[in-house]
Structures are given as structure tokens and as C-alpha cells.
């Protein structure tokens, strides 16, 4: 075991994948010599040479398009989109190409690529360094969407993503790269190195895609979340004083529906939390599935706590970010009925 923050865990996953499989290569803007603006690829070029870890032109469409072509050849490209706010020039390559190649060629061609991209706010990055566009991609059949909430999961999930034979988008909540930020922006952040989930095996291990994790067992209400919001929800559950069960989805698609249904059937109440905007957000799909599967067990309407339906406002970041106070109020609210 080693102590790692999330960046180091992600770096370790790529390192191991490159070590194990010569077909794995890593590229993206500033990822080569410099090691990425968040340092996620630090040391990889030095270790594996610039043939296997290199810079790309500033062309997200080019990066993903080239990765599709490499995947077709038989490589396993792992590409970085510097911020998920900059993924849109690659939209066509992801949605029309990577996602549908297997289907339209009846399995004749496939693109086993992994797109890593930082998401979320809380860093005073303004509207083009803070977005959470995951629901835009979960709407696309043929794409797998993953979002870890801690170093241990990040490493195991990224290794699974890289080995997956279909395109995976691996969303990295940048606000928790260094520690489990719980939304209390006025308090010091505990670094991952002082946290249980900062204990990461140095060797190879995988976490199956599509498996949620109950991060806080409870009886009274189910709180469903992912990414940074996992830590916000844990704090909120604590502060609400209510025996909440908090579920970290880890994988948005495929979704661990069984885990959610079992929990909601047990508690009869549900709060869904994400940082992304509300309307047509991933929470809408979750609400829908839960009412389909748990309708007769529900004691109260399902609550959603999300970012507001506006771009991320720089100066009002903490009024925008769904913090623990807001989540704990929602938890209390579903208990009222």
C-alpha cells in the first residue's frame, strides 16, 4: 500500500496499464514533457518515451478522432481532454463515431479508447473550467461514463476503463484531486494522504465498471450521488443527524440499478445529488428509474439537489455549488412526509 492523492492514483493506473500492455498509449494537450496541467501524466513520458506519452495539438476533435483511428488499428489510446469544458469540439467524434462504430459495422470495427477529463467546480475557474457535462454523454448509447470519488476507486476504475473494449469517458472531479472536499470551503481540506481511501495498492487491481458502493449504510433515506458530491453528501448526512444511506454510483453508465433499488425499497425515501445543472441532468434518469422500480415503496417525493440551471458563475461559486447545508435540508425534507 502507498499513500496517494487522486492524481497519483490516476497516474499509477496509466503507468501500470502502459507497463502491462504495449498497445496502451497516452496523449493530449500538455500531457507529454510537462505531464499535464494537473500533473496526471507526470513521469510517463520519461519512463515510456515520447512514442507512448506525448503532447497533442490543441484540437479536441483531432485528439478523439485520432484515438478512434488508433483504436480501430488495435491500440488502446488513453487521451486527456484538459477540462471537460473543452470536450465539445470532440463531440461529433465521440457521439457519431466512437459511440456507434461497433453498431454500424456490426462488430467489424471497434474503438477501445478512454477519454480522461476533469470535471466540476469549486476552484474559482469560472464557467469554462467548472462544468459537469456527464449527462450529455450518458444520453448517448454506446458510451460508458465513469466518475470516481477517491484515489482507490479512481485507480481501479481507470484500469478497468482502459481494458474495456468500448469507449469510456472517465470524468475526474478536479475539486477532490487533493482531498475529499465536502463543500465546507471555509475549512481546511484534509489531504488524501490522511484519509483511508488514500491508501492505494501500488500494484495492479481493477474495480468492475457498473458497481456502485454504499459509502455510508443507513436505514431512513437513500442519498444517491457521485464524484465530489459523495463527500458533500457524507457531511450532509452527518450534519442532518438522520440515518441516511449514502450511495456512490462510481459508474453512471452502466448503472448499478440493483444497489439503488434495494436501498430505496429499504428506506422508502430518496435524495439525488449532482453538481451539474438540474434540467435533463443525470438525476432525472435516476428519479425515473426509481419511480419505475420502487413506486410502491416510496414514502415521499424524491428530492433532487443539483447545480442551478445557469452557467457556473465565478463570484457566486458557493451559491451555485450544492453544499452540505442544502443537501442536509433535502434529507430532512424527505423525512417530513
Amino acid at each position: 500500500m502507498a499513500r496517494m492523492n487522486m492524481i497519483q492514483a490516476i497516474n499509477s493506473a496509466m503507468d501500470i496499464a502502459m507497463e502491462r500492455d504495449p498497445n496502451v498509449l497516452v496523449f493530449g494537450e500538455d500531457v507529454g514533457y510537462f505531464g499535464g496541467v494537473f500533473r496526471a501524466t507526470a513521469g510517463l513520458q520519461k519512463k515510456y518515451g515520447k512514442r507512448r506519452c506525448f503532447d497533442a495539438p490543441i484540437s479536441e476533435g483531432g485528439i478523439v478522432g485520432a484515438a478512434v483511428g488508433m483504436g480501430v488499428y488495435g491500440l488502446r489510446p488513453v487521451v486527456e481532454i484538459q477540462f471537460s469544458d473543452y470536450i465539445y469540439p470532440a463531440f461529433d467524434q465521440l457521439v457519431s463515431e466512437a459511440a456507434r462504430l461497433r453498431y454500424r459495422s456490426a462488430g467489424g470495427f471497434t474503438a477501445p479508447l478512454t477519454v480522461r477529463t476533469p470535471v466540476g467546480g469549486g476552484i474559482f475557474g469560472g464557467q469554462t473550467h467548472s462544468q459537469s457535462p456527464e449527462a450529455i454523454f450518458t444520453h448517448v448509447c454506446g458510451l460508458t461514463s465513469i466518475m470516481p470519488s477517491n484515489p482507490y476507486d479512481a485507480k481501479g476504475l481507470l484500469l478497468s476503463a482502459i481494458e474495456d473494449d468500448d469507449p469510456v469517458i472517465f470524468f475526474e472531479p478536479k475539486r477532490i484531486y487533493n482531498g475529499p472536499f465536502d463543500g465546507h470551503h471555509d475549512r481546511p481540506l484534509t489531504p488524501w494522504t490522511k484519509h483511508d481511501l488514500g491508501e492505494v495498492p501500488e500494484e495492479y487491481y481493477k474495480i468492475e465498471l457498473g458497481k456502485a458502493k454504499i459509502v455510508r449504510p443507513g436505514e431512513k433515506v437513500t442519498v444517491i450521488c457521485y464524484g465530489t458530491m459523495v463527500h458533500v453528501c457524507l457531511a450532509a448526512a452527518e450534519e442532518s443527524g438522520i440515518d441516511a444511506e449514502v450511495i456512490d454510483l462510481r459508474s453512471l453508465l452502466p448503472l448499478d440499478l440493483d444497489c439503488l433499488v434495494t436501498s430505496v425499497k429499504k428506506t422508502g425515501r430518496c435524495v439525488i445529488v449532482h453538481e451539474a445543472t438540474k434540467t435533463c441532468g443525470y438525476g432525472a434518469e435516476l428519479v425515473s428509474l426509481i419511480q419505475e422500480h420502487c413506486f410502491y415503496h416510496l414514502e415521499a417525493p424524491i428530492e433532487r439537489v443539483t447545480g442551478w440551471d445557469t452557467p457556473y458563475p465565478h463570484a457566486y461559486e458557493w451559491d451555485y455549488f450544492p453544499g452540505p447545508y442544502r443537501v442536509s435540508r433535502a434529507i430532512k425534507k424527505v423525512m417530513e412526509e
Binding site: 510537462f34 503532447d55 469560472g126 457566486y316
Partner: protein, 419 residues
Amino acid sequence: MKTAPLSLHIPEPKTRPGDLVDFSDIQIPAAGIVARPASDIDAAAMRDYAYALIRVLDDKGQAVGEWNPKLSADTLRLGLRHMVLTREFDERMMKLQRQGKTSFYIKCTGEEAIGVAQAMALDDKDMLFPSYRQQGLLVARGCPLVRLMNQIFSNTQDNLKGRQLPIMYSEPDYGFFSISGNLGTQYPQAVGWAMASAYSGDTRIAAGWVGDGSTAEGDFHYALTFASVYRAPVVLNVVNNQWAISTFQGMAGGEQATFAARAVGYGLPALRVDGNDFLAVYAATEWAAERARNNHGATLIELYTYRAAPHSSSDDPAAYRPAEEAKNWPLGEPIERLKKHLIAIGEWSEERHAALVTEMTERVMEQLKEASSHGTLGNPPPNDPGSMFEDVLKEVPGRLLIQREEMLALRAAAAQEGV
């Protein structure tokens, strides 16, 4: 037949931290040797310009050759003034970012001639579609620094209501388009604005800017296609400052051909210009503007310069390039070069220059005092959170009215409970 195995080419800059600076492969033609064609020349006759380098100021500080725009000493001194102000403003703002007064800053150190000379060469009514590194455009157009500082501080007087990352200005009254965080998007928009101006029988033209790195984005190529096809009255600038964060210009294809040469494939004329030479930048912009205004269409200008600043306040270039590069850039530094020229023609002195720097520093400090009186980032916390729901659409839609109520109620409850 036996074939050797293929190998993949990955571009690499000649030097990295710890290496001696090496600009030996940069060809610097003498000033004044490039001819100035009529601005209505056929693009096909312009191909060599994509590989030339228009320079006016020679090593002795004299203005030479056909591209000398023959500006009055007053105009030159005004240009110098704008450049010094831009630099002093940048220095002060970066310091304030370091002190935590704001979250982010970007300097244009070494590139001041570009924004300043180009704004002066264009008409004040022409529309500018900049990237984030042309603050000189606003300075030269007379936008008060206090407006920019208010935006940088996201304070109560911020014209963007605290919504945008610092330096992502939007100044409609100064013909300065809202800066996007997404690289290159402004380029086809500049072309579209120019098409609209032509469509409307207007006389105004547009200008757009992207960096060397951003030429790799699809938007760059969309813009050139549209500009060429519709002969749009637009000046398209590529600021080749050698770096895109940690990535050298070769990663955008700058080793195979010049950035100016991209125009050739689209049938557009290109001018390649010494970007640290105020006079050359002015003259090239004037030429392209005249061409556009006379309905001969777009020009691509490559401004050859060096990003002496870090990419942004979040960047440390010592991690990827030799620290001494900026000082050794073979084309020097724009303020020094214009100053030298003014002195050489007997219109300036070291004393006057020192006084100018002091005056501009004081100007920045005065404006800063005013801006700070309206607050710096988070101090005091901005006081109109409800405003975040405005301008998503013209009318605040029903669902946002509900969300605004919810947010305000939440704040009130939190305040009451003391959280």
C-alpha cells in the same frame, strides 16, 4: 520488396529547462527588404509573403523600407504610452493575483505591440474578436482600466456581474467581443460578423485573433474557409508567440510551414510580420484593413513574437522551457524597440521614458484605488447572488424564477441558523 518499418514522428523543441537557449534556426531577414504590394493585389501573387517576415525597425532603431507606415512622432509616442500602460497594468494585476485579490490573471508581456498597434491601425468602429491575450486592444481604445479591474475583481461594479473568470472581458461599447474560454471559437464569429457587415452594406470590418496553438482547432479552419468563400471583410491574426502553455509551436505544425502559409491553401493572402516591431504590426494591419474595406476580402496575418510571460497565473514555464529564452528572443522586445526608434529620430529620451513609466505606474495605482473601493474577489462577498439567474435567456424563465427563490430562501435560512 523489403520495406523498413514505419516510425511515428513526435515533434520536440530543441531546448528544455537546463539547456542553453538556442534560437540559431530562427531566420531573421533584415528590416525593410520586403516590398509592399498594392492592397488590392491578387492573392495568388502573394504566396511568398507567407514565408517572408515584414520588418520596419532595423537594429539601429531606424524605420526602413516600403512598409514604414510613416507615423507622426505623436502617434508613435501614443503607441508607446499604451504599451507601457498595458505592461504596468499587467504587472500590477499579476501581483494582486499572487496576493489573493483575485483568482486568475494572464499577462501579454512582450506582445504589447500586437494589441496596441493593431487597435490604432484599425478604425475605432471596427469590431474586435480577441483571444485572452490582447488587452492592449482595450488600452489603446481608451477603455478605462478601472472597468477591467472591476471585472478582474468580480466586484460590485463588474460589468459582467461576477459571472466570468478574470480577464474574460466583454466590452460592447469598445467594439470588443466577449472573450471565450474555449479556444478559437471567436475566429469564425469574426468572419460571420464581417459577412453581416458586408451583407448590410456597412463600412466596418472585423478582426479576430488566435494563438499559434489554437490554429489546430477546427474553428480556425472553418473561419478560413468562410473568409475565403465569402470574401469576408476581416483581418484574421495568428499570434505566434512560440508557446501554447507547455507546448511549442511545432506541435501545432509550425515546423513544417509558417502559420501564415495556412492562408495559401485557402486562397487567402497572408502577411508574416515581426510582432515585436510596432511599425511593422501597424503597417501590416493597415494594409489588411484597407484591403478588407475595399471589398477585396480577408487577410491572414501571422504575428511572430514570443510569450515572455507565463501562460497564466496558474503556470510556471520553468518546468518546460529554458528560463533565459525571453531575454534572448532575437526580435527583442516591443517597448524597447519603439523607444529606441523614438530616441533615434530625436523625439524621445531616457528621461522622458522614465517619466512615462512613472506616470503610467501612478495611473494604474489611481485606477486600482478606485476599483478596490468597490471590492476585490470575495472581499466583501458579492451581494447580488440572485443576478446569477439573469441573462440565461432574455426573460428569466419560470423554472429559474423558482430556482432563484429557492436559492435566496436557502441563504436566508442559512444566515438565520448561523451556518
